[in-house]
Symmetry: C2
Subunit: 678 residues, 2 copies
């Protein structure tokens, strides 16, 4: 942990700051005092039992700086208890992964001394976030000083303050030293090596590490496709009959790599302890609102919102809106084709170098327009999904992903489908595909990494004009570091990154048989993507809270859906190829029936393959079932032990009560004997 | 429980006999004595702690009767502990289903007095079977008296004796009174009512009750289809264009009923306590053999068999064998078509009433041959799957089901596919479908219920000639009842019953649009099927051990696969209908493309529908997550309580140890306070 930076506790002892809480500068004193007390209170009094101090402004502190910035930390003991609370899995002495318990701490492999360094800083920050989120109102009716900021017993204090806007942000601090080391091994040295996934997970958490793992895996998996694509490109540019072989390979390949990824991600997640981790009960997301009622699962007070109303909003507003957007996108596509025709006309009338260039202009404009439409739609989708008022963050995310995916898919690929199957113009298809792919790649890299970086640079320059420039490389005082990081942009999650990969996967798989070079372009893009993503995570954004994840979730499904669509389009393209057509000179019907039959066969094989390849590798399955078996056996043994004693027929649940019951303090003898027999 | 029949224990007390163990008559005395001792031994000494007595032959006992028949029972206390061991779920006081624990017994709804009657007889028998199966060898190297019957520590004694053939059978006893009541409410009174599923479950267990539940559900679900089918049959026999509407309805209907069944079966299974029940670790099936090694999961000695060898056997022997059988079936089909042509020729030459009847002969012969081939193949498949040497009974079953399903599907439907898509003769298709359906139904009913019943009757008459006939209705002495039941056929599980339903579902869904009357026939068949199945369970077969089941398992998948195939065939049939063809007079290609597009749309909707309809009804989902939430909370509270005390940092695991540790018998005060605070 970051020892160099430390804050003095109210007791006078120091602690390492882990998380920053920023309140708006005009927050009332009583609210602040109340919040800090609740954070510091003992757990049995309903507090979070964390350490929290106001950040003392550094030497360069000015009037304009927000004084209400607090750093939160915790004793290592508290963190270890927290690790048990959140259900962290750690490597046990016997090499298996087990749920960490404080009582068993010395049996965990990396636990040394008093346990300092056992948890990574990302884990500590995740624990603190969890404990802060679980800080619940007791009998307060509202936040002190804010009568309108209603509270009820069990309401998460932090979430209420966040949704009402007095809590600006909660974010974890970067670890300068660690970050430097990570950046170096990740993207600063140029050499052929795998990404340091374990280090990434150590610093950014499992969700992020899985994204980078998937990015790398996806890139490597495309290399065979790219290698096969190059000779096709070099020798047979216009002869796309041979591409049917390529397409066949492609389809099998897509299925296999997606299945193998499941196994790889299970291996990774097992090693990181997230595979067997039990999901905690999900709290309502911060934006969720409704009439106060009682949650039927927890029995706690909680806003309730009728599911019927939500369904109405989805089907009467969101679905028509999405359909309208799809129509709009179709309309734009038609304009593009008009422009395309117009450019072609000009070029045909007066073919010069400049009119030759003009041919590419509509595609480029269209690619830019697509990106802009995607961006606008993204905001609309977020607003709509928020308005649908989903109770859980996960449901919200799923609905958002679905909306965005459908539109992006349509927006990016509709024109290609139109060219391929309505116009049946393979040359134009190839040209459009190349333009779309390259333009969107370039735009993405700019929008994603360089623009935020440039914006931040400019902002920083303005804000820290007074700062001595040489200090930038040296160690900053804590207050400056916090101020710097608070101003950094917030990373909004892996959504956009996965979406980009998804669309690239679409370009590669949907039309691979007419443009085998797509795989090469995507591989090239992904290699730079690794670097730009790594760069933006380390340099551009605030550190995100680590998210425990066991797989890439809904994206696995999205990629699999894409590979099913790819089977259909590729079969159709094969059926349209002149060579295949020449096998059935007399009857087009025969040709179509054969192609459809082949497609059904491929789809069936795909499903069988998905079914036959186990999702979790054998050796991990054995480890998982061993754990399960052990816990079953432990339960059984306990009940036999209890039976032996026959004094108090106590089991797992009542054992504990039994310890309490005999008030005379005497432990009955026959019971002791029975128990000690074990 | 059956109070009327009771056996004297070795202590002189009586117990109700639940399960019968039959050893071969020449079993050595020492082996018997050893087995009985092991069964009677206390659990802490590795015994099963059950009550077991030799059956005293009744008045009619003859020399020929096997003396080595033993009845097993248990004290109610032992059974309650056993219920905890096997993880039975029972209704709690608050109406939710919870895992039964002996300590908590008084909090369960139906627990009264000392708990007699809390468990159904079927549950008691299941518990006894579980405890017998879990009776493991300690340090015996072999079964006493049989040096060749090797044992090793941890080997299930009963399974070894079964696989070596000295244990003839273990079966649960019928309950005369209960059975009479069940038979009456189930099939003896003729009136329109649902089956008494709860009573069936009470008597035969969850697996059987789910089968009958599915049979009933399936029949009811077919009624709308049958009702719509009747006017089609009455008015438009030869006009099958209108059937396209029927087929469309059919496809949606199939998907919906399968999805709704999942929800219904989840509701049933929740009420029966099997939905949230944890599956115990599966032991190797009795027939499994291999080199003695250590199981990586349990760490116990166990035969191991290389997975690679098994795969080789599957892919190099089983798969080719299945393919060969499929080829054979095709060959037989071709012979059938030859016969069909020959009959038609004769009829055309000389059309009389008799030659008209002759037209049906080939179909009937073919239907009989199909049934015979299915039967023979069934034995071959069982042998092959046994030879593949699967470790688990469940894997064995899955491989068997797959083999049998593929062949039966091919055998039953290949000719129909041939007629429909190669010969494109809809009249013949309709006729073949009707003949196949009716013949196979009649054959099935005979093979399934009446033949075994008749065989048993004959056997019984021979064996019990001496018995006074009037006694049959009166209560038999225990020894006679046991003898009678031991001679009944053994019910081999629901496999054949589900297979029959699966094939009927195929007849209804695959070609529904050419023969809408199929649904009517299947409904009629199913109504009689309910009665004949109920009859055979109650009268023909030995009582089977109850099998806890939460769903119909692999059959759900099989039915869903069938409904996917149905979409494809029905779309193809629609495309071939003259009316649809007339919409595309100029271009067959257009027609096919439309049909294929429509089919893809249907398939996509099907998958989306499967995805959108939740598998478990909301109110049960809430109950399930409440249980999960409570157990998480309990864990958390415990760790906070422990933290408060800070005396011994004990958690769930160590709480128990803590009770043991303080040898001076003094309970530390601060700990007591902390614990009592709860």
């Amino acid at each position: 942990m970051q020892k160099s930076l430390s804050v003095y506790d109210s007791d006078g002892s120091t602690f390492a700051p882990l998380v920053v809480i920023e309140l708006v500068s005009e927050t009332k004193e009583e609210a602040i005092a109340w919040l800090l007390n609740r954070v510091r209170d003992k757990q049995q009094d309903g507090g979070a039992e964390l350490l929290v101090e106001q950040l003392t402004p550094g030497a360069q502190g000015t009037e304009k700086d927000n004084p209400n910035v607090y750093v939160v930390g915790a004793s290592w003991q508290r963190l270890l208890y927290g690790a048990e609370d959140v259900g962290l899995f750690k490597e046990f002495n016997d090499g298996s992964m087990r749920g960490f318990t404080y009582a068993n701490k010395h049996n965990f492999k990396e636990f040394q001394g008093d346990g300092d360094g056992f948890l990574s800083m990302a884990e500590c920050q995740y624990i603190i976030k969890h404990e802060l989120d679980n800080l619940r109102a007791k009998d307060e009716a509202h936040v002190p000083g804010y009568p309108k900021m209603k509270l009820y017993p069990g309401k998460s204090v932090i979430r209420r303050m966040q949704s009402k806007g007095i809590l600006v942000q909660v974010f974890p601090l970067h670890e300068k030293e660690e970050l430097k080391r990570l950046s170096f091994s990740w993207f600063k040295k140029i050499k052929l090596s795998f990404q340091p996934l374990d280090d990434i997970r150590h610093y950014f958490g499992e969700g992020m590490a899985l994204y980078f793992g998937f990015l790398e895996y996806f890139t490597l998996a495309l290399i065979p496709m790219a290698l096969i694509g190059i000779p096709y490109y070099l020798f047979d540019w216009e002869d796309y009959d041979k591409f049917t072989v390529f397409a066949g390979f492609n389809l099998v390949w897509c299925t296999v790599i997606l299945e193998l990824w499941k196994r790889l991600s299970a291996s990774l997640a097992y090693g990181w302890g997230t595979l067997s981790r039990k999901k905690a009960f999900e709290e309502p997301r911060p934006g969720f609102h409704g009439v106060l009622g009682v949650n039927p699962v927890t029995g706690r007070a909680e806003p309730l919102y009728s599911n019927a109303k939500r369904q109405l909003r989805i089907y009467l507003v969101s679905v028509p809106f999405v359909l309208l957007c799809l129509y709009l996108s179709l309309y734009v596509m038609m304009i593009y084709f008009d422009m395309e025709g117009w450019a072609l006309m000009i070029h045909d009338e007066e073919p010069t170098f400049w009119t030759g260039l003009l041919l590419f202009i509509p595609s480029i404009i269209y690619a830019v327009v697509i990106e802009i439409m995607n961006l606008i739609y993204r905001y609309a989708a977020e607003f709509l999904t928020g308005w649908e008022n989903h109770r859980l963050e996960s449901t919200f995310q799923n609905h958002l992903v679905l909306k965005v995916l459908v539109f992006n898919f349509f927006n990016c690929f509709a024109s290609l489908f139109y060219i391929a199957f309505v116009m049946q113009d393979m040359v134009l298809l190839r040209q459009s595909l190349a333009t779309l792919l390259i333009t969107s790649q370039i735009l993405n890299q700019i929008m994603e990494a360089f623009l935020p970086y440039w914006l931040q640079r400019r902002r920083n320059k303005k804000a820290h004009k007074r700062m001595i420039k040489t200090m930038e490389d040296k160690e900053l005082p804590l207050s400056e570091q916090v101020k710097l990081e608070a101003d950094m942009s917030t990373y909004l999650g892996t959504f956009d990154d996965y979406l980009e990969l998804f669309l690239l996967f679409g370009y590669v798989s949907l039309f691979s048989c007419v443009y085998p070079l797509a795989a090469v372009l995507v591989v090239l893009n992904n290699v730079t993507e690794v670097y730009s993503d790594a760069f933006k995570m380390c340099k551009v954004f605030k550190r995100p809270f680590s998210e425990p994840a066991a797989n890439i979730g809904v994206w696995q499904l999205a990629f699999e859906a894409m590979s099913v669509i790819a089977v259909v389009t590729n079969c159709a393209l094969i059926g349209m190829s002149p060579k295949v057509k020449s096998y059935f000179p007399e009857s087009e019907t025969q040709l179509i029936l054969w192609v459809v039959g082949f497609e059904h066969f491929l789809l069936a094989s795909k499903f069988i393959l998905t079914f036959v390849i186990p999702d979790v590798p054998k050796h991990i399955q054995i480890k998982l079932s061993r754990l399960e078996f052990e816990s079953l056996e432990a339960l059984k043994k306990r009940s036999i032990k209890v039976k032996k004693s026959r004094y108090h027929h106590s089991t797992l649940n009542s054992t504990f009560l039994w310890c309490v019951k005999p008030k005379n303090g005497e432990v009955p003898k026959n019971n002791m004997k029975g128990l000690q027999g074990e």
